[in-house]
Amino acid sequence: MKVIYLDNNATTRTADEVVAEMLPYFTERYGNPSSMHYFGGEVAKAIEQARERVAALIGADPREIVLTGCGSESDNAAIRSAVDLLPERKKIVTSRIEHPAILGPARYFEDRGYEVTYLGVDSDGRLDLAEAAAVIDDNTAIVSVMWANNETGTILPVEEIGRLAKEHGALFHCDAVQAAGKVPVDLRNSTIDYLSMSAHKFHGPKGVGVLYIRRGTPFAPFLIGGHQEHNRRAGTENAASIVGLGKAAELAHGYVEVEQTQVRALRDRMESALLANCRDAHRNAAAEPRLPNTSSISFDYIEGESVLLSLSDLGICASSGSACTSGSLEPSHVLRALGVPFTRVHGSLRLSLSVFTTGEEIDFVVEQLPPIVERLRALSPFGH
């Protein structure tokens, strides 16, 4: 069965060019970049080239780039660094719609006596800047707000938040895992101290990430015990994946273009067709600015997992904010934070496109989804 992949906010297809550049680093170029021989030195050079390519994508200097094991590691490292560096400050400010890789560390420090404020959002996913201004203070060690949300695609006013952090001498971290490769990210005149990225969200390999650390911003490393990454991240480098990350970053300049035009047009076409062809369908947080590739739609009276299973039978991959597992009360904390009613959270579907998505694929989804929704509604005890 042909796979129609509309789950690109979960992960993306590794680009062929990326795989091609990676392969030699599994086979003939296996040297340790730290070694004192030419063979290892060649690998070190490849890593430096990757670092330059990543820096070029986000308007940074290569020395500001630390290569990590994933986006989650970058997020964790940023929060921990701030807590280590500013021990007299006992407050963390973040938002209710962050990824678990930020919420997890925030709760961890909350358990250990930190005051954590989770900024709320309105029904369009927009942060309340007045609230942010009221809570960020001189006791705040770090403010962490994401560039773009993974479930709805909402783009947040990070520079405004960053300015508030700066006014109070707090560090400012931004999780740009979903933004990189989809929208321009330029750190040249930015308030951001730390920024996270993850290669597998922009057609690079899984298991390699970036932590940008602004020059002059102190950093307390998370992984210690090795000189790698200028003592900022211990451990022999994941050379092949780093090379892949670099290639993906180079290609991403082009993706950003295509995302703004072709991907956005396909997403908008898909959204309007689904809203027109399905009764009682609602977009979640669709206000601009938002990522060009993401669409979150709720269908009343039906449950998300059932929709996903039916789509999966047709080869269509998507995701849902529903969590029909016993262990989670909160189906999608993001949609709940937006004030989407419980029932619509359970009936939510996230479709996320990529530069590889075609018009035929969108046509197929637009044709197949409405009858699935109708069939499941016929099964539902609600809404008749």
Binding site: D313, S326, G327, L329, E330, L379, S380, P381
Partner: protein, 278 residues
């Protein structure tokens, strides 16, 4: 992706008896929209008290669709008295198994059946005693938890969460759920399977390993801890607590009151649990 078996998939793809029924003899409902799943069961019963037709509607995941489908298929042709004997475990068996985290869907089926039979007998819906709600997040009562523990021989809070959702939200009710489990295990001992008499060291090792992996470690992990089996020299079992449990001041009590008590109950009365020297 859930690891559903072929039978479950078949019921998901081709649900039997789905949809509304005109003028049913009895209707029963369970679950709620807010909790993310709900099931309505409709029965037609003839003069000789036999279920001649069963239909269902659900707002729920794949397992809820399959559970309703299986339940209705099982009910047709049964007498009301036979129907009353069906449990959630029968639904699970009929489907050839469900993932642990989805067991609550089978429980929802059993609850809808119970409600339908009350309705058939002309009884009002079982009153929900607010005072007996244990899990406030999902509105699960003490009786529902007791019933699930009894029918499915549940041993840990995590088990109870899988079967009833209770404890899956804020977690504040975990202690209360554990009390209910303890109480049920004490009073239900008669029904527990007889334990083999004397175990060889190897048998003991296997049984202890399994009890720790299935029943003891999951409970500790819920609190951020963990446990390793270090050595066995019958009747002594040496364990090491990890994670949060290791630094917990109450670790000695955890070993004796929880680990040892559980192993004695599950494996052998004579077991003595010791903390392995670091």
């Amino acid at each position: 992706m859930w690891d559903y078996n072929e039978t479950v998939w078949d019921h998901i793809r081709n649900p039997r008896n789905a949809g509304p029924m005109d003028d049913p003899s009895a209707v029963g409902e369970a679950g709620s929209l807010a909790c993310g799943d709900a099931l309505r069961l409709m029965l037609r019963v003839d003069d000789s008290d036999t279920v001649t037709e069963a239909k269902y509607q659900t707002f729920g995941c794949g397992s809820a669709v399959a559970s309703g489908s299986a339940l209705t298929e099982m009910l047709v042709g049964k007498s009301v008295a036979e129907a009353a004997k069906l449990t959630n475990q029968d639904i699970v068996d009929y489907l050839g198994g469900l993932p642990e985290e989805k067991m609550h869907c089978s429980v929802m089926g059993a609850e809808a059946l119970e409600a339908a039979l009350r309705n058939y007998r002309g009884e009002p819906p079982a009153p929900i005693d607010e005072a007996k709600i244990v899990c406030k997040c999902f509105g699960v009562t003490e009786d529902q938890i007791r019933e699930a523990v009894r029918t499915n021989a549940l041993l840990t809070v995590e088990d109870v969460t899988h079967y009833t959702k209770a404890g899956g939200g804020c977690g504040q009710c975990h202690d209360r759920i554990l009390e209910i489990i303890e109480h049920e295990r004490k009073t239900e001992r008669v029904g527990a399977p007889p334990k083999p008499k004397r175990l060889s060291n190897l048998q003991l090792m296997k049984a202890v390993e399994e009890a720790i992996e299935k029943h003891i470690a999951p409970a500790l992990r819920q609190d951020g801890g963990d446990i390793d089996l270090v050595d066995i020299d019958s009747p002594n079992v040496f364990v090491a607590l990890r994670g949060r449990c290791a630094s917990c001041v109450a670790s000695g009590a955890t070993i004796k009151q929880f680990v040892q008590a559980r192993l004695r109950e599950l494996v052998d009365e004579s077991i003595v649990v010791e903390e392995a020297a670091a």
